[in-house]
Symmetry: C2
Subunit: 212 residues, 2 copies
DNA sequence: ACCTGAACACCGTTCAAGT
DNA sequence: ACCTGAACACCGTTCAAGT
């Protein structure tokens, strides 16, 4: 019952371990211990640690695809891409350093990639060619990845070094002058609001190029 | 002459080691050996490996700031942001996994952050408030980070596993159906062209929101 | 087929001791 | 002030041996 390690159980446990303890604590030994086996046992199911990380990233993207599929189809590409961007960000935010760890990794499951097909079909009806659809998805993905990497770094820094995150401390650290940079720092919003505003700009840019 | 380790020499050597051998080979011992000292010597100059990584990221951003400063001022924000995006991408591309490693890290040198000030001043003349300028820079940065992470992953995958990167192999891997996804894969361009096109969309989006 | 014990060649980091 | 030798508590991975 609790024994009988499988590839899936390993990946699930690895994601839990990452969330609980962080990337540095995600060791083969610790993972094995969480699954009640010794470290070498894992090598029967997984070639090496890199393959484990690829599988973890694929699982995260599978969940993104699943969450997106559960969203009712929107009224055109803009709704669809908005939903996709939100789902992707939400899934990254669920895991420590999720964006940095899981972006740009090799997806091992073709089903995850094939989930783009119905989207591409819908958008074709509104005049987008496959190349356009591909550009749009990749651009939104790149934006979300970059945004969330910065967001998670900021969050973590605020946790470990709250002093550095106070506005006064930052102003002092910046030294004399740089008044516009400081002012921008004072006004900067965080989180959802900022994300939605930036996402809106990206989508405006897509509209400008692809909706002739 | 060759002895007398300094913080800067350590960081420079660390970047060289990363480029030569990759992230996994960037160990404290290997770095020390390259500098002709024993590993513990480095701990006199740097608190720990994380601090070394922060310094490396800061050095990379210092070079970005330097390269950008060498570009003649453009004719408005669009020229400036285009130049910035290109310089940032170029610097990331110089280092293995540069975008993933150096994005979202704590900048340790205030001068690097202060370099935004003259830009913000110029853009103020064309009606941008500091908050607008901040949004624009951060959005372009997020895009470049996400784009180059994907780009470098693709490049590295093509190196280690060229089979997977042939179009036929990918089609076979995707299985039946998914014809639009496959078609997009066939047409996808790489590198500079794709970067410029996507960057153009991001800048269009910024224009749509901020140039009222 | 699936798992363990023992081992190998490493890690990052500390610290007393040297100059 | 700056560096070394030796050590500590770990790593990822391999492999013969067990069931």
């Amino acid at each position: 019952m609790t024994k009988g390690i499988t590839r899936e159980r390993i990946v699930t446990a690895a994601l839990e371990l990452l969330d609980d303890q962080g990337m540095d604590a995600l060791t083969v030994r610790a993972l094995a211990s969480r699954l009640d086996v010794r470290a070498p046992a894992l090598y029967w199911h997984v070639r090496n640690k890199q393959e484990l990380l690829d599988e973890m990233a694929t699982e995260v993207m599978r969940r993104v695809a699943g969450a997106f599929a559960a969203v009712p189809p929107g009224d055109g590409w803009r709704d669809d891409l908005t939903a996709y961007a939100r789902v992707l960000r939400a899934e990254y935010l669920l895991h420590r350093d999720g964006a940095r760890i899981f972006s740009g990794t090799r997806i091992t499951d073709p089903d995850v990639v094939r989930m783009k097909e119905p989207l591409f079909e819908r958008w074709a009806a509104s005049g987008w060619k496959p190349a356009d659809a591909d550009d749009a998805v990749d651009l939104v993905t790149a934006f979300v990845v970059g945004f969330v990497i910065e967001e998670q770094e900021r969050r973590q820094a605020a946790g470990t070094d709250p002093a550095r995150y106070s506005i006064d401390q930052r102003d002092a650290w910046l030294g004399e002058g740089a008044s516009l940079v400081k002012e921008a720092g004072h006004l900067q919003d965080d989180g959802d609001q900022r994300f939605e505003r930036h996402l809106g700009m990206v989508l405006d840019g897509i509209a400008a190029r692809l909706d002739a």
